[in-house]
Structures are given as C-alpha cells and as structure tokens.
Symmetry: C2
DNA sequence: ATCCATGGCTAAAACGATTTAGTTCTTATC
DNA sequence: GATAAGAACTAAATCGTTTTAGCCATGGAT
C-alpha cells in the first residue's frame, strides 16, 4: 500500500492540487473556494487517509516543525527528565524533538550539530561541550535559534542559556554546612573547563575563604572525565577513607558523583552524618530514599526544560526580519533540600 | 548567511548539478567523471561547507535515515537507558532517532505514529500501548519495518518484538522465594491488559498453585494506572502494613512500583528481609544501594535496545521486493540478581 | 567514409508539497 | 454594450536533491 499524495486527492476530488493544498491549510476561505468544493476535498482526504508529507512541506516552506535536542547523555536521570519536559512543552507548540547524546565529546557534538542542521531542524536546545561556541554562532548566523541548557559560555552572552545559579547553589550549601559546625569539608568534582562546574568550584573556595577556613588540597578530589566506574570509585574511596579524621563533610558536585559517593559510603560503612556530613548537587530518587536521606541542592529540572523550550518557541515565532526578542539568559535558583545527612 | 546548495557548488565549480551529485555520492567513478573534475568539485564543496539537504534527499529517495522511537516515558530510567543503547546502535548504522513518549496513552501513541509517518521515518521501534496492533499493521502494510520492545501482541506474531521472557523471570523469582521458605508472598502490579504484565502475573499464580499455596486476594494489589504518586503510596502502604503477619514477602512487578515500595518500607520501618522479603522486576541504582540491597529480576536493557535496532536495520536493508527476513521475535532471559532482601 | 564504442559530461524529470500570478466566468456599473 | 470587479478556481514555478536518458567528442575498426 502506497502513501496517498496531494495529487491523488486532487485527482479523486476532480480539482487541482492547489485547491487541495488551500483546503488542507485552512486557506480555502481566503482563496474563496466554495463550500461544496471544500467539503468534497475534505471528505476525499479523510476517506483516503491523507497525511501531508512533511519532507516536501519542509523543503518548500523551510520549516520542519522539529527541534534538535542535544544532551550529554539521555540515559542519565537528569537529562532524561529534562528531555521529557522539553518534549512535553514542544508538543504543546506542535514541535517534534530529535535528540542526541554527546557523551561529552566535543567532536561528536559537532557532528550532531551538522546532522541536525542537514535535517533542517528549526531550532536547537543544547547542553554544550567545551569549545562549541563557534559552531553555535554559525547556527545563529544561519538564523537558527539556539538555547543552551545546564551549561553556558560566559564569554558569549549572545548565546542565551537557561540554567540555575550554580555559584549560589553551592554557596548556600556550604554556608549551611559551616553553620552546622563542619569545618573539614571535602569536595568531589569532575575534571572539566566548563563554566558551570567552575562556578560550583569557586563557590566552594570562596565560602571557605570567607570563613577563614584554609583550603586543603588533599580534601579536593577531581575525577578525570574518562575514568570508568571502578577507577572513579577508587578515587572517591581514598578520599572518604579519611571520614571522621581528615574530613567531616563532603560535597559532591554532580548527581553521578553523589551516587558513586553513596556506593563508597555504604562499602566503608561510614556513619552519616556522625562521621561525615553529605550534600550533593542535583536530586535523585536514591538521595530521597537512602538511609539516612541525603541533602541536596535541587535544580528545578522540569522548569529548566520548559523555560528553554519557551524561549526557543519565542524566537521561532519571529520571522527573522523583525527585531529579535533579546530575552537574554534565564537564571533560576537551585534550592537546598536539607535532609538527614547534614 | 544562507545555506549553500548543490547548485551553488555546481555554479562555482563550473559543472552541472548532476556532476556534483555524483561526486558527493561516490558515484563519480561509475559515472566516469574525470579525476580533475572530481577534485575540483570536492574542493569547492569543502570550501563552501556544503552539507546536503536531507529533506530534499529524503523526498527524492524515499529514505530519511531516521527511525522513530516510541517509548512509554523517556524520563523513566528503564526507557532512558533503552533509548541510549538504541541511539548508540543507530549511530553505528548511520541512523538518527526521533523519540516520543506515549505516557501509556493509546490515543497519544496513535498520534505519534502519524507524526512520525508524516516525517517519513524509515522504521520504528515501539513500546506499544493496548490496541495499537492495527495501527502497527498499517505501517507494515506501507512497508515500514516495526520492532516492538518491552511489550508484545501475543495474537500478532507477524509483529516482531524484542523482549525478555517475563513469565520465566517472575517464575524464577517466585521459586527462589519459596525455596527460601516464604509462603505468604504478596504481589504489587499495575492495572493493564498488556500481555507482558499478564505473563508476569500468571507466573506468580502458577508457581503458587504448583506448590499448593492458596492464592489470597488480599495479598495481591493492583494499582490503577492513573493513580498519582500519593494514592499509589497509600495502596502499597495498606498492603505492606501486614508485613510479618499477613505477608512475609512481596514481589513488585515493575521498577516504578519497587521504588514506591522502598518508600513505604522506609516509612513503616519494616525489617527486610526479617519481616518481609522483597524482590522487584527490573534493576535500578536504588536497589543496588539501598540497605539492605534489594534483589531483582534484571532485564538486559542495553541488549534489548541493541538487538531491537539490529533487527530493524536488518529489515531496513532489504529493499522490499525480495523475500523478507522473517527473523521473528527475540526473547532474552531476565536473570535473578539475588541480594540481601531475600 | 561510415560505424561503433567509450569516455565525460549534462538536461530534465521526479519526489510532494506551497504559493504567486493568472484565467475564466458572472454579475454589477455607467 | 463595454468595462470593471469579484468569485472560484488552476498552472506553473519553486524548494534541493537523485537518477535516467542522452548528447557530443574522439578514436579505432571496417
């Protein structure tokens, strides 16, 4: 069974292709097509199960009603939830989503942008990798709107981003730990030059400094990005072995690291929070259900996705010639969810 | 800045559009284009940053090199992991993925199929909802291959599926519980007519019967599908309140239900496995890290995704006229991962 | 001198829509 | 009775590719 095309409808209804097109696009009245013809065409189209070919339509109009979503890894709970909220909001505006994971690989990210560009997506929502700013500028130069999420390029304010205030989030967590009397606070992060992670790290350093607490190199563990699970576990293990003596609290800077941390804590049977207070950036079912429950700096994930999609839709609405809506970046707040671990 | 098209290249290189097309598609030799012209075209294309428009290409060739992935909910860890393995395998075969979530809504699923069909995807991987078989048959009639995952239609063997043997998985878990001496085994499932869930339920009943253990209605809790989190929690709570007296073990038939169960167990401070043994279908980080660790029937998620994509690619390779590869459904095994909870 | 083969390209149709600029009737207007 | 103004449509160009059929030299065989 072949697909039915607009000319099949035209033939069967005994009218021209143009007429069918007008009827299908609600331009029939404007084009003064008669009541009878409109009904005739609509009936034939319904009977034959006509569905316009979006490729042809996209080729002609230049709009595909599709957006490209590039995340780090769709299997990660954070990005999966983000993806869902973007999908839902996109649907509300009649957009479809093509998604891809970069695995944090710069080269792969570039390829993905090319792929999506070849598929003529109308706009992009991107979790960028390092050095991707130039490629993104090119998209903008082609008049394709781009919204960054989760991460941003501080030196490129012309690329709008929707994200939380990472610095404030961590600072708030740190202040709370210090207020509770913890002084030997350790930090676990991943190796990256991306600004959002640097912000988190800076907050840690700044708050310590502000309270006159010396920064001990031995308390800061930066996991190399390409470490496998086992290797990363080992690294965290050496750090947390000092629980109760060298360190009295630990701040995990990402979701993934926090889960890793729990694994180590469980293995070493560290008493939380007696021997070690724990706080993590980003929530996760585990943190809510582990015993003791783990305190987190919670990002409003759904809101990020929704706001990003809205910002994109706003830009997509404008035809390009008119003055662009320069709604710049959106910064949300990441709140502390204090649980038993601190 | 506008996109460069094939005719821009042709003009600049001083050749015809056809020649450029041949060169770009590695048909230059077959079409006996001279060395010099080939190089000339390649250089111009590179300089101008030419990227073929996939819409136009798809319109002409009828192939978009895109597959549609329909899952229940991309935010769910199980489907997110599945999606990632499908994406990875698709990439290996030069396919892109457009994904959508049904939220288990039949009508939405139908709409999604229509959407994807309008976008001319080459094939589909679908987590079906109830009553979707006819719509899927239509896709097959249009010569679009479809592979089901996670679920299947027992009365439609002509729709291939990649999934685990749900019956065996649950039966194995039940046998293990019984072998360990548990007799008052409760069950938590969700309300659905889908075959994969019925299989799991039947395994529970059959194993009990085989061991002459009476089936108590009060030990089986079926959560209505549209229950919100709070309501579902309440339901599970009433069941688990009987831990230690009315029931001595509980089998959660899905990942989501298991997490819900943990929440209740934590709240009621039920001793696992002393008061209550726990086993869940599908693994999850939480089960591995909770104290005590929770036993599960583990599905090989990555393998399901990979096998499904491979089955699809195999069908996509065949042009349609030839005899179809009737590699029927793939059934994998779901193994028991015995942990501290039993 | 004619024919055929082959090498090296190009013209033009086709894919399935949208959209601009007509065309052909009526009917009203002066 | 000629002209203008709608009303109700349609023809054809266009989007950017792929692909089939064919054109035009050149050179060797007859």
């Amino acid at each position: 069974m072949k697909k039915v095309s607009i000319s099949d409808i035209a033939r069967k209804a005994g009218v021209s292709v143009s007429t069918v097109s007008f009827v299908m696009n609600d331009k029939a009245v404007k084009m003064r097509i008669s009541r009878e013809v409109i009904e005739k065409v609509e009936n034939v189209a319904r009977e034959m199960g006509y569905r316009p070919n979006q490729l042809a339509r996209g080729l002609r109009t230049g709009k595909t009603k599709t957006i490209g979503l590039i995340v780090e890894n769709i299997a990660n709970a954070f990005f999966a939830t983000l993806a869902k909220s973007i999908e839902d909001e996109a649907k509300r505006h009649e957009y479809k989503v093509v998604y891809c994971s970069t695995d944090n690989d710069e080269e792969k990210a570039r390829e993905l942008i090319n792929m999506l560009s070849q598929r003529q997506v109308d706009g992009y929502i991107i979790t960028p990798t390092l050095n991707l700013a130039d490629d993104i500028r090119k998209l903008q130069a082609e008049n394709k709107p781009v919204i960054l999420i989760d991460r941003y390029f501080p030196q490129h304010e012309e690329i709008p981003a929707v994200l939380v205030d990472n610095y404030e989030g961590v600072a708030h967590g740190m202040e709370t730990l210090i207020a509770k009397g913890y002084r030997k606070i350790a930090l676990v992060s991943i190796e990256t030059e991306m600004a959002h992670m640097k912000d988190r790290l800076h907050a840690y350093c700044d708050v310590l400094r502000r309270h006159g607490i010396p920064e001990e190199k031995s308390r800061v563990k930066i996991i190399p990005y390409n470490s496998d699970h086992e290797k990363a576990l080992k690294e965290v293990e050496t750090l947390l072995a000092g629980a109760g003596t060298d360190i009295d609290a630990v701040f995990f800077l990402t979701n993934y690291l926090g889960v890793l941390g729990i694994e180590v804590i469980k293995k070493l049977q560290i008493k939380v929070p007696e021997q070690l207070a724990v706080i993590c950036f980003d929530d996760n079912d585990i943190f809510r259900l582990y015993t003791p429950t783990i305190s987190v700096i919670r990002q409003p994930v759904e809101e990020i996705g929704k706001k990003a999609m809205l910002a994109l839709v706003e830009r997509l609405g404008h035809t390009g010639e008119e003055s662009y809506p320069t709604t710049s970046s959106v910064r949300l707040t990441a709140d502390l969810v204090a649980r038993e671990s601190i």
